[in-house]
Amino acid sequence: MLAMNYRGPKRVRVSEKPEPALKHPEDAIVRVTRSCICGSDLHLYNGNVPDTRVGMTFGHEFTGVVVEVGSDVTKVKVGDHVLVPFNVACGRCVFCKQGMFGNCHESNPEATAVGAIFGYSHTAGGHDGGQAEYARVPYANVGPTVIPEGMDPDDAVLLTDVVPTGYQAAEMGGIQPGDTVVVFGAGPVGIMAARCSWLFGAGRVIIIDKEDYRLEFAKNYAHCEAYNFEKDMDDPVLFIKKITDWLGADVCIDAVGAEAAGNALQTITGRKLLLQAGSATALHWAINAVKKGGVVSIVGVYGPTDNLVPMGNAMNKGLTIRGNQTSVKRLLPRLIEHVQNGVLNPKALITHRIPLEDIADGYRLFSAKLDNCIKPLLIMPNSGR
């Protein structure tokens, strides 16, 4: 089969690889029908996540048709068209039982701080991902969810990560009616977080980024205020204080993570020299821009070591800081409902359709923010195009 093949920082290609096989009685094999490149794939692409091995196939946002199931699989059958949550989750450990499907303890041998994620380095379990014609899906009784009849597969593929992650970012903010929410980062997840903040009753939603085309999109899609931190302000924290009656936002969401721009020290130490686990500029701003007693919600991805953030301010301001990998399975029923009722329209985020064979161009396009790219979707060779 054809599969994405990581060759080193900023180098990927498509290669022939053996088709995956069933390895466990609860496995399924799916023929991938839709797959996306995610903003968090860029942390791997840039070589920032330890234990990212040459030869691995990335991809944690995908849908597919079940072509084979293990002997203990009862919830899906051959021929089902399923969306596959990005977490590999057993459904039985103490964390899954609490709905924390992003923190499963039975799927990732290499690290205990993170559950397993498809195609996301060996630090996240060493499971090959869905940027390929076929993928192995462990725990097929738990994760894969049959796409409801009538749902556009383009909407379904974004329910595997982008929509639930944006929604959980807002949920973790504990937004109360009338709250002012500031979202750092106008990528797909940030845009969705801004959109979902309204569902929790936010009174005002502001998004901050440096790409005008993304801000323009966010303003229209998420009905929010949008500001460019390179053009509209000198100091984002001071700017937010000024526009929030000098108190700060009730909730700040970091939807950027390790690739953040905007602070030379963070960029050099976090992204260039890898002296910290990515550039923590957005998180730094979030802590300083939120109101005393406010909430910082983190869905931006960082590496496993340390970051420079103003913890003294976090303590002095009495902040609540929440973060997690998204519990996709827990959120799916509500979010499927929102998509079916037209409350959320995920597929509008997709700006580019790229053949799997051109995946290197896709990564470059997305990474360098070329051609007004917001969300690239990979088209599989077997999809009939």
Binding site: P25, V54, R322, G362, R364
Partner: protein, 169 residues
């Protein structure tokens, strides 16, 4: 500057998930002992371990399911095995893994060449797309890289040349 939206009726779904009990200071969903607090849940069947899989020393065993992508091999594998002697709490775990990743890149190129495949770095870096959409930016980036590399080579070779002159060779 004022908020742009006081009346939210134009926003589909405004407030439909508002929940006064969604209090962020109590993030855990279970604090009452409904579920076990120990490592004693009914575990799924164990996947046969048919490849070398390194596991964190912060757990006593392999999880029931493991990824089977790219087992450790070569020099990078030696470094990874060393890293997994240490807990996730220590740089002694993470820094060798980053080193192993870089060694793995070189091993990947050697492996390609050994199999008669000359990697097309230009294509693998997606420069075609970059050239199509931002030729100036790409040219600037490549020129900057070339200038830095050229400068480094010049500095290193100049040092060696002056050493040779001093030693009379």
């Amino acid at each position: 500057m004022q908020p742009t939206a006081q009346d939210h009726s134009h926003i589909p779904g405004w407030g439909i998930d508002a929940d006064p009990e969604n209090d962020p200071t109590y993030p855990m969903r279970d604090r009452c002992g409904e579920f076990t607090k120990k490592y004693d849940w009914e575990r799924p069947p164990q996947q046969p371990i048919d490849i070398e899989t390194l596991h964190s020393i912060e757990r006593p065993n392999q999880p029931a399911v493991i990824g089977n992508s790219v087992p450790p091999s070569g020099l990078s594998g030696v470094i990874r095995r060393f890293a997994f002697r240490y807990s996730e709490n220590l740089y002694a775990h993470w820094l060798p893994l980053l080193l192993a990743d870089r060694v793995g890149v070189v091993e990947g190129i050697i492996d390609d060449l050994a199999h008669g495949h000359v990697p097309n770095i230009f294509a693998e870096k997606g420069y075609r797309a970059h050239w199509k959409h931002d030729p100036k930016g790409l040219a600037l980036r490549l020129a900057t890289t070339a200038a830095i590399a050229g400068g480094l080579v010049f500095l290193l070779t100049r040092g060696k040349k002056s050493d040779r002159i001093k030693s009379g060779s």
